[in-house]
Structures are given as structure tokens and as C-alpha cells.
């Protein structure tokens, strides 16, 4: 660009704008090595990228902790099964049981601290996840057995329905905020569908089911795991009691209803 004698011109220009040039060069270097810098100095340098942390650490998280988790969960499950035989005597008694169940999930000693999702509570992310499991439930129920069989053994696609209120609808009262969800695509249901399809990929679905699901879903979704978000703003349990009762007999509902009768 500068031609034969341009070298001298460039040097003179750099000397004249030395501070500006250094700043630009430093900025480029920081941008190219931003991930390395963040890992060196922690997330305090910039706002942490929670989204990438969620997806990147899953594999490592489960490889290191799934056996510990299962042991902990077994204990919680036993506790729950014992509890269901008790009568529901009084409100205070129930609250005591609730505390016991929560306590059974809290055992921070001996757990490896692993920074995941960068949640700045006094618990590690692993502890927070375990604390959040209020009840593991009866996983020997046929419904959970079939679900696990589909996901882990048979590699079949699963269909999940989410029913919930405005939180499930990705609602917000302050849409101006940068981090506010803008549409249903920002909801956890949509992100769960992406996670299922990325972590349990290449699932299979029968032609009958695909033919049914085409009635309600786009073509690119019927061949993978589906998370059907049926949220309704301001709706609670009372709303969904009636809505689910109606959906289950709806001849046009492919997932919950009896759409196969009209195929």
C-alpha cells in the first residue's frame, strides 16, 4: 500500500500515533485470547458467559459426578418411600418432614468442588443441584423405566410436555433489559429440547408417530426429541386441570389427544 518508500511513512505514522496504535494492538490481543485470560484471572474481569458454561461442562460434570449423585439419590429415594407410608398428621409435622428430606440432600463434605454455571451462592454448583432435588421419586415406576429405556437403551425419541405459567412462557415485566427473554425460543423448554437433541442425538421415531406429529409440529422437529411448551400466562394448577382434561380427548391433538383417529 505504501509503495517503495512507504516503509518510512508507516514508521513515521506509527511514531506519531504511538499510543493509539498500542491500544489497538492490545485490544486485538485481548480479544483473541479472551477465554485464556478469563480462565487465568477468573470471571471477575468480564461478565461470565453462562450460556456457554452450561453446554460445555455437561460432559465433564456427569463423567466425574454421576456415580456420587446416584448414591445420594438412592438415599433420598429410600427416605421418600418410607415417608409415603406415614399419615399426614399435621401441618407442622409435614414441615418437619420437608426439612428432613432437604437435609438428606445436603452433604457438602467430601464433594469435589467443581465450578459449573458460575452460580455465586455459598454452595458449589454441584451442591446446589443436589439441594434442588426435593424428591427423587419412585424411579421404579414403569413410566420412568420406559423413559430411561428410550433414552439410554433404545435410542428412541421422547416427547415431553411442559405446562406452566408465565415463567414457562419466557415472560418478563421488563423487556428493556438486555438479558430479558424476547420470545418463546428463549424459554427453558426450547433450550431443553436443544439439549436433549444434542446429548441424545440420532434418535428414532416410528413412521406412525411421525405422521401424527406432522399435524402439530414442523417437519424439522418431528424426527427428534420434542419438548412441547403448553404454557399459559397467569395460569396455575386449576387451569391445567381443565385444560389437560380437554386436551386428552381432543381429536386434533397429536401428543396428548387422539389424533390418530383422524389420520
Amino acid at each position: 500500500v505504501l509503495g517503495g518508500g512507504g516503509g518510512g511513512v508507516m514508521v513515521r505514522w506509527l511514531k506519531k500515533n504511538a499510543i493509539y496504535s498500542c491500544c489497538v494492538l492490545l485490544g486485538v490481543l485481548i480479544f483473541l485470547n479472551r477465554r485464556r485470560l478469563i480462565s487465568l484471572f477468573g470471571s471477575s474481569l468480564s461478565s461470565p458467559d453462562y450460556r456457554s458454561a452450561v453446554s460445555d461442562d455437561f460432559r465433564r460434570y456427569w463423567r466425574e459426578h454421576e456415580f456420587i449423585l446416584i448414591d445420594q439419590a438412592k438415599d433420598a429415594s429410600k427416605h421418600t418411600v418410607e415417608q409415603q407410608n406415614n399419615e399426614f398428621a399435621s401441618v407442622v409435622h409435614q414441615y418437619e418432614k420437608y426439612r428432613v428430606v432437604k437435609g438428606s440432600n445436603i452433604n457438602p463434605e467430601g464433594w469435589v468442588k467443581l465450578p459449573l454455571w458460575s452460580i455465586p451462592t455459598k454452595f458449589t454448583e454441584f451442591e446446589a443441584f443436589n439441594r434442588s432435588i426435593l424428591n427423587l421419586g419412585n424411579v421404579l415406576d414403569p413410566s420412568y423405566v420406559m423413559l430411561s429405556d428410550k433414552l439410554l437403551n433404545r435410542q428412541q425419541c421422547v416427547t415431553v410436555i411442559v405446562i406452566g405459567g408465565s415463567v414457562s412462557c419466557a415472560g418478563t415485566k421488563n423487556k428493556i433489559r438486555k438479558n430479558a427473554p424476547k420470545s418463546l425460543a428463549d424459554s427453558y423448554a426450547f433450550k431443553l429440547e436443544k439439549l436433549l437433541n444434542s446429548k441424545f442425538p440420532r434418535c428414532r421415531r416410528s413412521q406412525e408417530d411421525i405422521a401424527r406429529l406432522r399435524r402439530n409440529f414442523e417437519e424439522n422437529r418431528v424426527r427428534g426429541h420434542i419438548v412441547d411448551n403448553r404454557c399459559h400466562n397467569a395460569a396455575g394448577t386449576g387451569h391445567f386441570i381443565d385444560a389437560v382434561s380437554a386436551w386428552k380427548t381432543d381429536p386434533f391433538d397429536a401428543v396428548l389427544g387422539k389424533a390418530c383417529a383422524l389420520l
Binding site: N153, I163, T172, A243, A261
Partner: protein, 421 residues
């Protein structure tokens, strides 16, 4: 191939749902007293459990359920209103349903900075709603939990019953259902499991309100993308006509075997600008126009006042009132053609009530007034007939002074849905 597929589906395949899992996140919008929370939670749980899915070995299995708590009205049990996650937990424990509560995972916060993170990053608007990051975290937790459940189930099967084949797995016992005064009654459960309601919803944008007609009420939205049947002034009214027979696929009237009759009206309850509505349920014949009131051959079954203003809260939620007229026995007279004979039997009467309110009827102020009206209606011990079987629900906005309160400037009423079991 397609024809063969259709034939196979039509002739051999039993029609069932495709749902493998249902995630329930309703804690944030359940703002009721404790007993009602448990009752409604149990009802929904039982309905979902009874949904038949395609299982292995030709058997039918219901979907796997998972309760999720993201936000809640965080109150203690000994206070008037219960913590919804806690109340739902009591039911999910008893039924063996997995329950995940992110709120309990994060809290309590040790520093103000942590609290700030929670409100600013996890919750986008400092209220109950999540930010994009919050949705990411919830999705991650859900995926982790689903995978944990799957591993746990596989582990248990490997140890116990997997070698014996899928039918033995299916034969595993479910946990004992909940029984107790604070939970749903057998009648309530039976209504919702066996019943297939005639359901009219107004929140669906595409639904056309063909069966209703009103003066002042219109199907519109007061908040962007939140539709409903809305009236704004006193004396605005709307009527919704519902057939008492069930609509089958062939559109021919069919009479259900269920002896229970139940109507639910779902409305918006908010802390400002809301009014009082009067619900009137009328049985009418063919000539009963939707614009008429209870005249001629029409008979008023029940009348009810509902205040959709709840000044104790600071949010808007959907609530519902129920009319249980199971005491009316309906028979089908085939000799007279397509006629429903709706006849009242017994003297137990009928009542408007919210689910599970039997314990709290005397505790709630509104119910006292409701009971008075119920008694008035119950004293009309008359037999009445509906030749063609239609019920007309009329919603009318009335002045708040009818409840002994001062008149209000705004009297908005918003109806979400009406269902008839």
C-alpha cells in the same frame, strides 16, 4: 404405503397419546390456601398419571411426571397462604413423583452480592420471571435431572427386574394414593379422570366464540398476546351456551355414564382495576336464545357472585370457580328422540365452590355470601326438564356495592375458559 399406514392405524392401532414426560411448573401461579393447593396439585397429578401412553410389550403406561419449582410465593405453612412448592412437595412425595426446586438449590444467599446475582442474572426483572441466563440454568438442571432419573431407573432395573422382561417391569406397583381430609376426594378425582369436558377457551387466539353472545363483552387482549373474554363496565354481560351431551367424533349426541356434573369458570384475578361478576347457570331448551335471560322454559340452577379483585396480592393470576351439580341426575330418553331429561334428585343441593374448599368454607368471607345464595337456590325444590339439553352460563358485571364494598372506578372482568364435565 400411506394408505396401508392409515388402514393399519384405523383398524389395528388403539389410539393413545405420545407423551413420555410431563414437566409441571405451576407453583408460581398457585396462590391459594394450603388445603386447596394440595387438592388441586393432587387432581392434576392424577389426571396426568392416567394419560395412557404407548409402552413396551403392548402395555399402556402413563407419562413420567416431573414437578419443577422455579419461583414461589415464599410463605411458611403456619401462615395463611402456604409455600406452593412445599405444598406440592407433600403430594409428590406421597405419589413418588420427582420434584426439583431451583429456589431451594440456590438459597439462602450468604452475601448481598449473591442475592444481587440471583435477582439480576437469574431473575431478569427482579420479580418472579427468569432472564435468559435463568432459562439456561433451568434447562441445564432439568436435563441433568432427567438423565439422573434415567440412570437411577436403569440401575434399579438391572438389579431387580430387567431380566424378566418388560411385562414384569410394568407390573411393578404404584405407590399408595394419598388419602386424607386435605386432599382431593374420590368424587373429584373420578370426575376429572373419567370425564371429557366440553371446553371453551378464550385465550386461544384462533378460537372463534361461536357459542356465546354478549353485550359489552368482547374477545380481545388487555395485555399484548393475552387474550380473553373481557368486559369493562357494570351491566356488561355475556352468555355462553354449552351442550349437556358430550360431543363425540361423529358429532352425534352421546350421554356419558358419569353421574357427576361439574362446570368450571376460569377468570383473571388481579390486584387492581377488577370488578365483581355474577355467574348465572341456566338450563334452557332449544328456543332459549343466548340473548335471553332466564325466562320461559329456562330455569336458573344457580347464581353466584365472584370478586375478581384481590387487593392482598401484587400480581395477576388465573383462578377458577366450580359449580358442582352432581346431585342432578340426567337420563337419556331414547323414545322421545334426542332429548335429555335433566332431573333433580335428592336434597343436597348444589354449590359454587373452589376445589378443595370443603374445609375452608367457613373461614373465607366470600364463601359465607356464596352459601347464602346456594341455600336460596337449594330451596327451590322443583323438578325441571331440559328437552334438548343446553346449559347457559351468563356472566354479568355488577357493582361492588352488592358485596358491601364501595363502588369502583374500574370494573374489568376477564374470562379465560369455561368447561363442562
Amino acid at each position: 404405503v400411506r394408505v396401508a399406514l392409515i388402514l393399519r392405524l384405523t383398524l389395528t392401532h388403539e389410539c393413545t397419546g405420545l407423551t413420555d414426560m410431563v414437566i409441571v411448573e405451576t407453583a408460581v401461579n398457585d396462590y391459594e390456601c394450603q388445603y386447596k393447593l394440595r387438592t388441586s396439585a393432587e387432581l392434576l397429578l392424577r389426571i396426568l398419571q392416567e394419560l395412557k401412553n404407548r409402552g413396551g410389550g403392548g402395555s399402556k403406561i402413563g407419562p413420567a411426571l416431573l414437578y419443577l419449582g422455579v419461583s414461589t410465593n415464599n410463605k411458611m405453612p403456619w401462615q395463611e397462604r402456604g409455600d406452593t412448592i412445599l405444598e406440592q412437595l407433600l403430594v409428590t412425595q406421597a405419589y413418588g413423583i420427582p420434584h426439583l426446586s431451583l429456589l431451594d438449590g440456590f438459597q439462602p444467599f450468604s452475601t448481598q452480592i449473591d442475592k444481587y446475582w440471583f435477582n439480576d442474572i437469574y431473575k431478569g426483572d427482579w420479580t418472579t420471571h427468569l432472564s435468559i441466563t435463568g432459562h439456561e440454568v433451568v434447562a441445564g438442571y432439568l436435563f441433568s435431572f432427567i438423565r439422573l432419573l434415567s440412570f437411577q431407573a436403569q440401575d434399579a432395573i438391572t438389579q431387580a427386574t430387567y431380566n424378566q422382561g418388560p411385562r414384569e417391569v410394568v407390573a411393578l406397583k404404584r405407590l399408595k394414593p394419598v388419602s386424607g381430609p386435605a386432599y382431593a376426594t374420590a368424587e373429584e378425582i373420578n370426575i376429572h379422570i373419567t370425564g371429557s369436558p366440553y371446553y371453551v377457551n378464550f385465550y386461544d387466539k384462533s378460537w372463534s366464540p361461536g357459542l356465546c353472545m354478549g353485550l359489552g363483552f368482547t374477545k380481545t387482549m388487555d395485555v399484548p398476546n393475552k387474550y380473553g373474554l373481557i368486559g369493562n363496565e357494570v351491566a356488561d354481560r355475556v352468555s355462553v351456551v354449552l351442550p349437556t351431551h358430550r360431543l363425540s367424533n361423529t358429532s352425534a349426541p352421546s350421554i356419558t355414564d358419569s353421574p357427576y356434573q361439574l362446570m368450571t369458570v376460569e377468570y383473571l384475578s388481579s390486584f387492581e382495576g377488577m370488578g365483581v361478576m355474577k355467574l348465572t347457570l341456566t338450563a334452557c331448551d332449544d328456543s332459549c336464545s343466548v340473548s335471553n335471560t332466564s325466562k320461559g322454559s329456562a330455569t336458573v340452577i344457580a347464581s353466584q357472585l365472584v370478586d375478581s379483585l384481590d387487593s392482598k396480592t401484587n400480581f395477576s393470576i388465573a383462578r377458577s370457580v366450580q359449580l358442582n351439580f352432581s346431585s342432578y341426575v340426567r337420563t337419556y330418553q331414547s323414545s322421545d328422540g334426542n332429548k335429555d331429561d335433566i332431573r333433580r334428585s335428592g336434597s343436597s343441593g348444589h354449590r359454587f365452590a373452589a376445589r378443595g374448599d370443603s374445609f375452608l368454607t367457613r373461614q373465607l368471607e366470600l364463601f359465607t355470601q356464596q352459601e347464602q345464595q346456594i341455600n336460596v337456590a337449594a330451596d327451590r325444590r322443583v323438578n325441571w326438564k331440559v328437552p334438548c339439553g343446553y346449559l347457559k352460563l351468563t356472566v354479568e358485571i355488577v357493582d361492588a356495592s352488592i358485596l358491601g364494598q364501595t363502588s369502583r372506578q374500574n370494573n374489568k372482568v376477564k374470562i379465560f375458559a369455561v368447561s363442562l364435565y
